[in-house]
C-alpha cells in the first residue's frame, strides 16, 4: 500500500510526460489546454493524498511504539557487503510530511490549472510537477539514506527543470542551473556524510542505523559524530538554503509561482529539516554539530530578513522570508527541539504556500506585474485574494491565534530554555521575528492598501516590457494575455478556492501544537523523544517571552503600517540611509562575492590548465616526439594518398617484423 503514495504521482508523470514527449512536443507549437493534463496530475496527487491519509489513520490505530509501516519494493543494490533495498517506511514523522506534501500539493496542482491556463506547454508543466511530488515523497518515505538521497536529487532535478521552465529567458535558465549547482555543493557534503556513516556504523538504513548508534554511539569518537553531523548539514545548507548556500533560492523565483509555492516554500526546501529530525539520534550526540546548526540557522534567519526589507519584487520578498523561516527551523533543530522545527515546517507550509499563491493571484490579476511599488489598493480590486493574503500575513507575523504564532513561539522558547539554547540565540530569533513582521507588513501595505500606483490598461501593457514579465509568453506569440484586456481582476475560482483552504489551515493549523498540550509533540514521540529535561530558565519566562515576541511583532506591524502609509516618508528614509539601503537591496553583494571568489578563478584556472598544460606542455612533448620520427612523414603521405590496402600492408609488415625481432631475440 505504501508504494502507492509514490507510484500514483509517477503514473501521473508518465501519462503527461509521454503525452507531451510523443504527441505534443514533436508537433511543435500545438497549444494544449491546462485542464486535461491538470486534471490528470491533480487526480494523481490527490489519490496519493488519500493513500497518505489512510496510512496516517492506520498508524493512529496502532499502539504508540509500533507506529511504523514498511514495504520493500525491490532490492536496489546487492552484492558483497552492499545491500540497499528500494524500501519505504512510513512512521510518525514521515506520515506528517506525506500529508503536507500531498495535501498542499493537491491544492497547488488545482491552483495551477488556473494559473497555467495561458501557458504554452501545460502538459510538460504538470508532468514535472508530478515528478517532483514523486521524488519528494520518496525523500520522506525512503527507508535508508541512499533512497532519501534518490529523492533529494530527484527534487533537485525537478526544481532545476521548473525554475528554468520558461527556458527562453536566459536569466531564468541560469537561475535553474545555479540552483542545481549550488545544491550539488551541498550534495558533496551529503555524500561524504553518508560514506562516513557507512564506514562508522556499517549501515545506511535508518532503523538499523538507530540501533547501531544506540549500541556503539558512545564508543565512536566525538569528532566522527560531529563530522557526520556537519557533512550532512552541508547538504541541508544547499537544499534548505542556509548560509552560505542560500543564494540559489531567491533566484529560483524565476519559476512559475505555483512552483515557488510548492517546491521553494512548502516542501522541498524543508528536506534538510526532515533529514536532521530523522537523524536526531546522531545530532543529539554531538553538541558541536548542534551548535553549528543552531548558529547557522539563527544567522540565516536574521540575515535573510534584513535583505527582505529592501526587496521590491513581491516574490523576492517572499523568497527571502522563506530563507529566513527555514533558518528558524534549523535554529529549532540546533537547540534539540526537532519537534518545534517540524511544527514550523508544517505551519510554514500552510502560510507560505498561501502567501506565494496569493502573490501569484496578484501577479496573475496584475498581468505579470511583480513590483510592489507599482501596486497598491488591490484590497478593493481583488477582495478574495486580499482576505486570504491577510490571513497568511498575520500567520507569518506570529499574531495569535494564527498558526505561525504557535510554531514560532515554541522555537523562540526552546532557543532560550533548551540545554543547547542561549539568550543570544533567542535574541537573534526575536529580533528576526520583529523584522519579519515589519517586512511582511510592508509587502502587505504596498500591495493591498493605499491608492493604486498603476494605471489600468496601461499598467498591464507596461508590465509586459518589464524584466519580470516576459517568460510567461512565447516570444513568437506576442503578448496577448487572452482575457480581460488590461483590467486588474480577481482570479478565477479554481485559484481562489485552494487559497481559501490554505487560509483556513493557516489560521487553525497551530492548534496541533498548543504549548504543554501539544498533540504534535506527543505524536512524534516515538521518533523524536522529547526529553524530560527541565528548562534552563524558570517557567514563568515562557509567558514573558511570549509577550515580548507578540509585542515585537506588533511593533513591526505598526511601524510598517505607519511608514508605508505615507510613501514619501519611506522615500525620505531610503535617501537618508542610502548606503544601507543599497547594501540590502543588492543582497549584501554576496552573489558578486561568490562570482569573484569561486566562479571567475576556476574559469580562468581551467583556461590556463587547458592552454598551458594540455596544449602547452603535454602536446608539445608528444608531437615533438612524433616529429623526430621520419616515419611520421611517410605515414602522412600514405594516408593522404588514401590507399588503405597499401597502408594496412605496411603496418602489418611492420608488426610482423617487430614481433620477429622479439621472437628472434628470445629464442
Amino acid at each position: 500500500m505504501l508504494s502507492w503514495i509514490v507510484v500514483l504521482p509517477l503514473i501521473g508523470f508518465l501519462i503527461n510526460g509521454l503525452w507531451y514527449a510523443f504527441l505534443q512536443a514533436p508537433a511543435g507549437r500545438k497549444k494544449a489546454g491546462s485542464v486535461v493534463p491538470g486534471a490528470i496530475a491533480t487526480a494523481a496527487i490527490f489519490g496519493s493524498f488519500l493513500v497518505s491519509l489512510s496510512v496516517f489513520l492506520k498508524l493512529n490505530e496502532l499502539p504508540e511504539s509500533q507506529r511504523v509501516i514498511e514495504q520493500v519494493a525491490f532490492s536496489w543494490m546487492k552484492f558483497a557487503e552492499i545491500n540497499v533495498d528500494f524500501g519505504f517506511r512510513v512512521d510518525v514523522l514521515s506520515t506528517l510530511f506525506t500529508l503536507v506534501i500531498t495535501g498542499v500539493g493537491t491544492l497547488i496542482h488545482l491552483y495551477s490549472i488556473g494559473y497555467m491556463s495561458h501557458d504554452e506547454t501545460p502538459t510538460k508543466f504538470f508532468a514535472y510537477l508530478n515528478l517532483f511530488c514523486f521524488a519528494m515523497l520518496i525523500l520522506v518515505t525512503g527507508s535508508s539514506l541512499p533512497i532519501l538521497f534518490l529523492g533529494w536529487e530527484g527534487v533537485g532535478l525537478c526544481s532545476y527543470l521548473l525554475i528554468g521552465y520558461w527556458y527562453k529567458d536566459e536569466e531564468k535558465a541560469s537561475a535553474g542551473k545555479k540552483a542545481f549547482i549550488v545544491n550539488r555543493v551541498g550534495d558533496f557534503g551529503f555524500i561524504l556524510g553518508m560514506f562516513l556513516i557507512y564506514t562508522t556504523f556499517g549501515t545506511l538504513d535508518f532503523v538499523a542505523l538507530k540501533q547501531a548508534v544506540a549500541a556503539n554511539g558512545a564508543t565512536v569518537a566525538a569528532g566522527t559524530l560531529t563530522a557526520i553531523g556537519l557533512l550532512l548539514f552541508v547538504g541541508c545548507m544547499g537544499k534548505s538554503a542556509q548560509i552560505p548556500l542560500y543564494v540559489w533560492l531567491p533566484d529560483a523565483m524565476a519559476g512559475p509561482t505555483p512552483v515557488s509555492a510548492l517546491i521553494h516554500a512548502a516542501t522541498m526546501v524543508t528536506s534538510g529539516v526532515y533529514m536532521v529530525s530523522r537523524l536526531n539520534f546522531i545530532y543529539s550526540l554531538s553538541p558541536t554539530a548542534l551548535g553549528v546548526v543552531a548558529t547557522v540557522g539563527a544567522l540565516t534567519a536574521f540575515f535573510a530578513a534584513t535583505i527582505a526589507i529592501a526587496q521590491t519584487d513581491i516574490k523576492k520578498v517572499l523568497a527571502y522570508s522563506t530563507v529566513s523561516q527555514l533558518g528558524y527551523m534549523f535554529l529549532a533543530c540546533g537547540v534539540g527541539a526537532y519537534t518545534a522545527g517540524v511544527f514550523h515546517v508544517i505551519t510554514h507550509a500552510f502560510f507560505k504556500a498561501l502567501l506565494f499563491l496569493g502573490a501569484g493571484s496578484v501577479i496573475h490579476g496584475m498581468h505579470e506585474e511583480q513590483d510592489i511599488l507599482k501596486m497598491g489598493g488591490l484590497k478593493s480590486k481583488m477582495p478574495k485574494t486580499w482576505m486570504v493574503f491577510a490571513a497568511g500575513w498575520l500567520a507569518i507575523c506570529g499574531i495569535p491565534p494564527f498558526s505561525g504564532f504557535f510554531s514560532k513561539d515554541e522555537i523562540l522558547w526552546e532557543a532560550m530554555s533548551s540545554h543547547h539554547g542561549s539568550f543570544w540565540l533567542w535574541l537573534v530569533g526575536a529580533l528576526t521575528a520583529m523584522m519579519t513582521a515589519f517586512y511582511m507588513t510592508r509587502l502587505y501595505t504596498l500591495t493591498f492598501l493605499g491608492k493604486p500606483r498603476f494605471k489600468e490598461g496601461a499598467a498591464a501593457h507596461a508590465a509586459k516590457h518589464d524584466d519580470h514579465g516576459h517568460g510567461h509568453h512565447d516570444d513568437d506569440h506576442g503578448h496577448g494575455h487572452g482575457h480581460g484586456g488590461g483590467k486588474v481582476h480577481e482570479s478565477p475560482a479554481i485559484m481562489v478556492v485552494p487559497l481559501q483552504v490554505l487560509a483556513v489551515l493557516s489560521i487553525i493549523g497551530g492548534f496541533m501544537g498548543i504549548p504543554h498540550a501539544s498533540w504534535l509533540a506527543h505524536w512524534l514521540d516515538p521518533v523524536i523523544p522529547h526529553g524530560h529535561a527541565e528548562p534552563t530558565v524558570a517557567p514563568f519566562w515562557e509567558w514573558v517571552l511570549m509577550g515580548v515576541s507578540v509585542a515585537g511583532a506588533g511593533l513591526g506591524i505598526f511601524g510598517a503600517l505607519k511608514l508605508y502609509a505615507q510613501l514619501d516618508v519611506a522615500a525620505e528614509l531610503k535617501k537618508r540611509f542610502a548606503f544601507a539601503h543599497r547594501l540590502l537591496e543588492n543582497k549584501w553583494f554576496v552573489d558578486e562575492l561568490y562570482e569573484m571568489v569561486f566562479v571567475k578563478p576556476i574559469y580562468f584556472l581551467s583556461q590556463g590548465l587547458w592552454k598551458g598544460i594540455d596544449v602547452g606542455v603535454i602536446d608539445r612533448f608528444v608531437v615533438g616526439l612524433g616529429k623526430v620520427s621520419m616515419w611520421t612523414g611517410q605515414t602522412v603521405r600514405v594516408l593522404q594518398t588514401g590507399s588503405i590496402q597499401t597502408y594496412a600492408f605496411v603496418l602489418l609488415l611492420g608488426l610482423i617484423m617487430t614481433l620477429g625481432y622479439f621472437i628472434y631475440g628470445m629464442v
Partner: protein, 519 residues
C-alpha cells in the same frame, strides 16, 4: 548444436569480420547497393548482438571462473595458444560492444557518404578486434586483438574524420603504439619467466598468474617495472591524466561512429587490461602504486571536468568529460575493494552508454548545422524538443543523478575509494559538483535562451531513425539505474576472484564489518 555452443566465443568474435568480408564482396553501386550495404551491416551487428545474448543466458555466475572456453594450438614453440573464455566482467563488456554496434551503424546511415564499403567493413573488423580482446585468455592473443582494433580505428579517424584528422590520427597512433610496444616487451619477458620458473614458455594468463615475480626494491623492482609497462599501455588507453591529450583530438576529428566506439568500448580496453592483466599479474606492484594511481585518478576527475567546462566545442567538451569519467573508473579499480571495483566495472558500462549517447547527439546536431561551436547555438529546445529530451536524459546520466545508471557507478566508486583513502575520495567527490557545472552550462548554452541564430530556426527535430538510435540508450540509462543487481550478479564472483589475486586478505574488511555489526 553442441559444436555451435562449444565454439560460441570464436563464432561471435569472427562473425563480424565474416560479415564484413561478405559486404566487401557485394557490388555496392548506386543507391540500392548502398542501401544493401547499410542494412547488411545493421543486420550483421543485430545478429551478433542476438548471439551475444546467448552468452548472457549461458553464463553461470556460480560456475567456473572462465566459461565458454576454447583452446587451440597456435605457436607451440613459444607457448602461445589460441585460448579464449570469459568471466563475468568480460561478459558485460562484450555485451556493451555488441549492444553499441547496431546503434552506431544505424547512426551512420546518413553521416557517411563516401567509401561506405570500406567504412562498414572497418567497423565490423573493429568489432571483431574488440570482442576478441575481451575474450582472449592468452596475453599474446590479447595483444594481437589489441593491435587489430587500432588499425581500423586509425583509418576511421584518418579517412572519415574532420579537417585535422591526420594530426589526430597520428597522435592517436603514436600514443597507443608506444603503450603497445611496452606491453609486448613485457609479455615476452613474462613468457620467458615462465620458462625459467616452470620449464616452458607460456603466454596463457592462468599460467602467468602463477608466476612469482620479484617485488623487492620498491617501485623499480622487476615487478614494478613490468607493472608500469602494462599500466602505461592501459593508462594511455583509458586515458589517465596526463596521458589523455590524444583523446580530445581523436574524438573531435573522428566521425560520430568512431567517437562512440572509441568512448563506448575502446577506452574500456584500458580498464579491462588493468583487471585482467596488470592487477593479477603484479599484485605487490599494484599495492605499491595504489595511492599514486588513485591520486592521478582524482586529478583526472577534477582536471577533466574543469577543462571540459571551458571548451568552445561541444564534442571536445564531451571528450574531456570522458577524461573525468574514466578517472572514476581507475579510481574505483585502484581502491582494490569489492565496492570500488564493482563500481568501476559498472561505470565502464555507464560511460559507454551515456558518453556514447552524447556523442551520437552531438553528431546529430552537427549533421544539421555543420558546426559544433557552442556559441553558434542557443534556444534549440524550441525547435528540437525530442532532441532536448534525449540530451537532457544523457546529461542526467552523465552527472550521475540517482535513478540513472551513472549514479550507481559513481556512488560505488566513491564509496570504495573512501574505504581505501578518505582524503583522495573527498577530493574526487568534488567531481560531483564540477561534473554538473560543465554539463548544465553546456546544456543551457545550447538548448536554452532565445533562439537568436537564424540558422537554428529551421532545424528539424529528430526523425524516426534517430529516435530509434537513442531509445535503446535511454532505456538502458534507467534500467541500469534502477535494477543494477542483474549486472552485479554476473560479475560479483569475478570481482571476488580478482581481489583475492591482488590481495589474499581482500576479504578482511567484510569480516571486520560483520564483527562490528555483531558487537
Amino acid at each position: 548444436m553442441e559444436w555451435f555452443d562449444s565454439h560460441l566465443l570464436t563464432g561471435l568474435t569472427f562473425l563480424p569480420l565474416v560479415f564484413g568480408v561478405l559486404l566487401l564482396l557485394i557490388p555496392a553501386k548506386g543507391t540500392q547497393g548502398k542501401a544493401i550495404l547499410k542494412y547488411g551491416a545493421l543486420i550483421a551487428t543485430l545478429v551478433v548482438f542476438a548471439a551475444s545474448l546467448q552468452l548472457w543466458n549461458g553464463f553461470n555466475a556460480a560456475g567456473d571462473e572462465f566459461q565458454f572456453r576454447e583452446a587451440a594450438s597456435w605457436i607451440p614453440s613459444l607457448g602461445v595458444n589460441y585460448l579464449v573464455g570469459i568471466d563475468g566482467i568480460s561478459l558485460l563488456l562484450i555485451l556493451l560492444t555488441t549492444f553499441m554496434m547496431p546503434i552506431v551503424i544505424l547512426a551512420s546511415f546518413t553521416t557517411v557518404e563516401t567509401r561506405e564499403k570500406e567504412y562498414y567493413f572497418l567497423l565490423l573488423m573493429l568489432q571483431t578486434g574488440m570482442i576478441g580482446a575481451f575474450t582472449a585468455l592468452d596475453t599474446f592473443l590479447f595483444y594481437v586483438f589489441w593491435e587489430a582494433m587500432l588499425i581500423p580505428m586509425y583509418f576511421l579517424i584518418g579517412i572519415w574524420g574532420g579537417k585535422d584528422r591526420i594530426y589526430a590520427a597520428m597522435k592517436f597512433f603514436l600514443y597507443t603504439m608506444v603503450g603497445s610496444l611496452l606491453m609486448l616487451t613485457a609479455i615476452f619477458y613474462l613468457a620467458y619467466q615462465h620458462k625459467l620458473q616452470f620449464g616452458s614458455f607460456s603466454t596463457a594468463v592462468v599460467d602467468l598468474y602463477k608466476l612469482k615475480i620479484d617485488a623487492t626494491g620498491g617501485y623499480f623492482s622487476t615487478q614494478g617495472i613490468l607493472f608500469i609497462a602494462f599500466a602505461l599501455s592501459f593508462a594511455i588507453k583509458v586515458p589517465l591524466f596526463p596521458l589523455h591529450t590524444w583523446l580530445p583530438d581523436a574524438h573531435v576529428q573522428a566521425p560520430t561512429a568512431g567517437s562512440v566506439i572509441l568512448a563506448g568500448v575502446l577506452l574500456k580496453m584500458g580498464g579491462y587490461g588493468f583487471i585482467r592483466f596488470a592487477f593479477p599479474l603484479f599484485p605487490q606492484a599494484v599495492q605499491q602504486y595504489q595511492i599514486f594511481f588513485m591520486l592521478l585518478s582524482a586529478i583526472a576527475i577534477i582536471y577533466g571536468a574543469w577543462v571540459a567546462t571551458i571548451q568552445p566545442d561541444i564534442k571536445k567538451l564531451v571528450a574531456y568529460s570522458s577524461v573525468s569519467h574514466m578517472g572514476y573508473v581507475v579510481l574505483g579499480l585502484f581502491s582494490m575493494n569489492a565496492i570500488g571495483a564493482t563500481g568501476a566495472v559498472y561505470q565502464m558500462l555507464n560511460h559507454g552508454i551515456s558518453t556514447g549517447g552524447l556523442f551520437l547527439l552531438v553528431g546529430m546536431i552537427y549533421e544539421r548545422r555543420h558546426t559544433r561551436e557552442i556559441s553558434e547555438f542557443g534556444g534549440i529546445t524550441k525547435v528540437m524538443p525530442l532532441f532536448a529530451i534525449s540530451l537532457m536524459i544523457m546529461t542526467l546520466s552523465s552527472v550521475a543523478l540517482p535513478g540513472t545508471n551513472g549514479f550507481i557507478g559513481e556512488f560505488l566508486i566513491l564509496l570504495g575509494a573512501w574505504k581505501a583513502n578518505m582524503g583522495i575520495a573527498a577530493i574526487s567527490t568534488l567531481g560531483v559538483i564540477f561534473g554538473a557545472v560543465y554539463m548544465l552550462w553546456m546544456f543551457q548554452r545550447v538548448m536554452f535562451g532565445p533562439l537568436k541564430n537564424p540558422e537554428n530556426k529551421k532545424l528539424t527535430d529528430l526523425g524516426l531513425r534517430e529516435v530509434l538510435v537513442m531509445l535503446p540508450l535511454i532505456v538502458a540509462v534507467f534500467v541500469m539505474g534502477v535494477a543494477p543487481n542483474a549486472f552485479f550478479g554476473k560479475m560479483e564472483p569475478s570481482i571476488q576472484k580478482l581481489l583475492t589475486r591482488v590481495q589474499p586478505v581482500a576479504a578482511a574488511p567484510v569480516a571486520m564489518l560483520q564483527e562490528r555489526k555483531g558487537n
